[in-house]
């Protein structure tokens, strides 16, 4: 992607957010924020019986990059296990979003993924604890 293509890719996600809205029966629901940019993103997720993500939604407000990134993240985690989501790389995400464009705003670009990873980690730890009990 050249710079203009990367801009158009992000603008498309910003203007046509994928998987936006609440999620019924979510097992993960966690909000994360960047006070400096007034970004507040809530990530909702649900896993199927095999432990693979089968539903994801997001809600919130924020700058163009944080919203575009949240939309994109919901597209790339479908079917992944909690562990796979936790192991996702922020660097890879920044590369896919267009490093040249988002490198000045990495906290915005990674807010959604970081929030999802944290929420998924808490969900997994809770599930493990329940299992050992």
């Amino acid at each position: 992607m050249d710079r203009q293509e990367a801009i158009e890719f992000l603008v498309d996600h910003y203007e046509n957010p994928r998987n936006y809205g609440p999620l019924e029966h979510a097992q993960v629901s966690l909000s994360g924020g960047n006070p400096g940019c007034a970004d507040i993103i809530t990530m909702h997720a649900h896993f199927d019986q095999e432990g693979k993500l089968d539903a994801i939604r997001w809600e919130g407000e924020g700058c163009t990059i944080s919203r575009a990134a949240a939309s994109y993240v919901t597209e790339i985690v479908d079917g992944l296990t909690a562990e796979e989501i936790e192991n996702m790389s922020f660097e890879d995400l920044i590369e896919q979003l267009g490093r040249e464009l988002v490198m000045t705003r990495p906290t915005c670009a990674t807010l959604a993924l970081g929030t999802l990873k944290k929420g998924v980690h808490e969900y997994r730890m809770k599930a493990l604890a329940e299992k050992t009990e």
């Binding site: 960047n34 940019c37 163009t64 990059i65």
Partner: protein, 288 residues
Amino acid sequence: MSGTETNHAGYVHPEVLVETSWVADHLDVPAIRLIEADEDVLLYEVGHLPGAVKLDWHVDVQDPVTRDFISQKGFEQLMSRWGIDNDTLIVLYGDKNNWYACYSFWLFRMYGHTNMKIMNGGRQKWEAEGRPFVKDVPQYTPTSYKAQPMDESIRAYRDDVAAGLRDPNRRLIDVRSPQEYTGELIHMVNYPQEGAQRGGHIPTAKNIPWATAANPDGTFKSAEELRQIYYGKDVTPDKDVVTYCRIGERSAHTWFALTYLLGYPRVRNYDGSWTEWGNLVRAPIEKP
């Protein structure tokens, strides 16, 4: 063509500002070129003022190799590409209180374009007033623009800054956030904390964050309010003033306010700023 609505604010040079209503009434005037300069790189594509071209700071005005701006010839080519001739009235606007619009104003002024204005309040005010944004990218017939050699009387270099450290008539203004000034951070909150080896500020610098010159709606504060801010820190028109921030863009906003709105005769913007000073070996730094 002047935005006379701003006269009441008591500015020394009110002619450098136009109001959003004035711009709305002059969108179809061929001798006017609107230029949008944003910090947020996506905003122009999300929507811009009808007829406006995009100034992308990362690609349009930076030398790709040396840390410097484009050359005189490069500036001429840029103006030509946007269909701007030497008589065109350029109206700059952007996001975040016109932060990058003022930075552009400063650069364009160095290359000799004087017929320029800032749209007071920028994108924020235009949007708040429910005025239209479009996605069409305009194409203009190239011109034969002639730029002047760079006027560096409004630009400060590190040697100028260092030479003035003991000058009682010199005032340094660090326009960054208090956390950057004290060295707690080396960039704004939520931005990558990189670009300088050390935190702190240049000795003698006074901390007057750039956005204190703006109202909540993005417009500039009145002359009286601005005087209270700068006089209150002993930054008065009789002094040689140098503004700086991290790379010189926030400080261009303060340069603009002091030079045009308050009429200070000697204000320079140090665009090397903290990303230069905070990396210089043995450069003196104050840090509480």
